[in-house]
Symmetry: C2
Subunit: 264 residues, 2 copies
DNA sequence: AAAACACATTGATTTACGTCAACATTACTT
DNA sequence: AAGTAATGTTGACGTAAATCAATGTGTTTT
């Protein structure tokens, strides 16, 4: 394995929780929080807000909340009251049918917003599970709406976040409806690494926070197919895989697989 | 065929355009419009607004616009400026890859809102195609945002519309990722007929506005599979199919196929 | 250090749906 | 009314991914 610009350890760093946990699966941290000082400022809700607006946002983010690996931030059926901005950690959202089939609907990382599905019916529609120890900012939706009325920039931002989720899901429908296993996995890897890169991580290396089964569920495939496709990419020299660690050796090859036309 | 409570002709009625068209593919109707008098009041944007709020909404809906069958309301790449409320007619939204594969992302009918995908990037992300002659209310998004600030009920309503689209697409991911052809088509039919019923049509009969190919694209299946599955349902006495006309004979059987557990 | 467990890989076989192709029906054109 | 195009149906066959199963690897527990 080549020497790494970003070691797997470094990649994990952002998500580690240095504070002492009280041992419960979840706990509410009543410490006051300041968006204006948050190092996710560029990614999270505050995007594009000036100082006075940032201060207002501080009022929205009343509390933080920690979720241990494997813990639930919320479950389908819970009453909806807040959106959550991920500070650290990694989540999956998933829904299940009565007969126990599960569909992962998304993977969310630091700076992303979770819980939009609850707005329609004031009830959460999916489960949000922490795939590693995580911390989120709790943003009561009533407050978001209240401040949105005073701050058009915030209002617009909220709308863009929701629209972007709609567009992402449109893309997933294309994946699930039209693409073959290799295309889906290529698209998945490119998307993941791009979002990690936007957060200061390597543009070519990543450590998967989810199992093959969870990737498969997200992509509408079985875990064996994910494993086989990883192996195939690896044999072709496109990626290097060692369990959860993935290094993209030929990003262009991956792009070509995902979207045959654009990369000729 | 039994005598019909709602004939196919009746079902078509709502969508017919009685006004004279000027012959162009699309045209902008500058006639002032009143939401307060609209017969879609219960379904469309105004849901839950009182009289003074309804009047404000009238100001948002500046114009109407007609789209002929096969015409485009907007295309991917068009600059986004307005949402559209469907007054009459039926639309599909779809996206395509560079190499020409098409994915239908939704079918929209009277009272539903179209164009939410454009908000993130101020550019439409999909094509909206009229599957029959249609008329929409043009709602400039800047105005929607402006009035949302003054009318919390409207603000909440806009949020719910967006959230509901997210939830719908979550459901589609479940369909596309986990369900077999029969389950998908059963779910599709149940959803269509339920939405039509909410608009005063029959709870058991419908006339499809889309081809087998378009249904297939939406459901991630090929047109032959749609055709075969229709035939199978028909042979089993669950539905009666004659081209675009469908009558649901055994709604419970359909529900059981869609969701094996809930109906035992 | 060994045992137990969760997760990942790989092979053999099956299957649901896709592909290809012929034909039927309806709607559109002139 | 006849001819043409678009859409829908049905059959024969092929295939990508699922299923079943065995084995490997890494991590946690005691």
């Amino acid at each position: 394995m080549d020497e790494l610009l970003y070691s797997p350890e470094t990649i994990t760093l952002l998500s580690l929780d240095n504070l002492v946990s009280n041992g419960r699966k979840m706990n509410i941290d009543t410490l006051k929080v300041a968006c204006s000082n948050c190092n996710l400022r560029e990614l999270c809700m505050p995007l594009g807000l000036d100082n006075s607006e940032l201060q207002k946002l501080d009022e929205i983010v009343a509390t933080r909340r920690k979720v241990k690996q494997g813990g639930l931030l919320f479950s389908a059926g819970d009453t909806f009251s807040s959106l959550f901005a991920i500070r650290t950690g990694f989540f999956k959202t998933c829904i299940s049918t009565e007969d126990g089939r599960e569909q992962v609907t998304g993977f969310q990382m630091a700076g992303e917003i979770i819980g939009l599905d609850g707005i329609v019916n004031d009830i959460h529609n999916c489960n949000a599970v922490a795939l590693e120890d995580a911390e989120v900012c709790v943003m009561p939706f009533a407050k978001i709406e209240e401040f949105s009325r005073d701050f058009p920039v915030l209002q617009r931002h909220v709308h863009k976040i929701m629209s972007s989720e709609i567009v992402r899901e449109n893309g997933m429908m294309m994946m699930l409806g039209n693409m073959r296993a290799e295309e889906r996995l290529a698209g998945f890897l490119l998307n993941l690494v791009q979002r990690l890169h936007a957060r200061g991580f390597s543009p070519s290396e990543l450590v998967l926070r989810m199992t093959r089964e969870e990737i498969g569920s997200y992509l509408g495939l079985k875990l064996e197919t994910i494993s086989r496709t990883f192996s195939k990419f690896s044999e072709e020299g496109i990626i290097e895989v060692k369990q959860r660690y993935v290094k993209i050796l030929e990003p262009d090859a991956l792009k070509k697989i995902f979207n045959p036309q654009t990369c000729y």
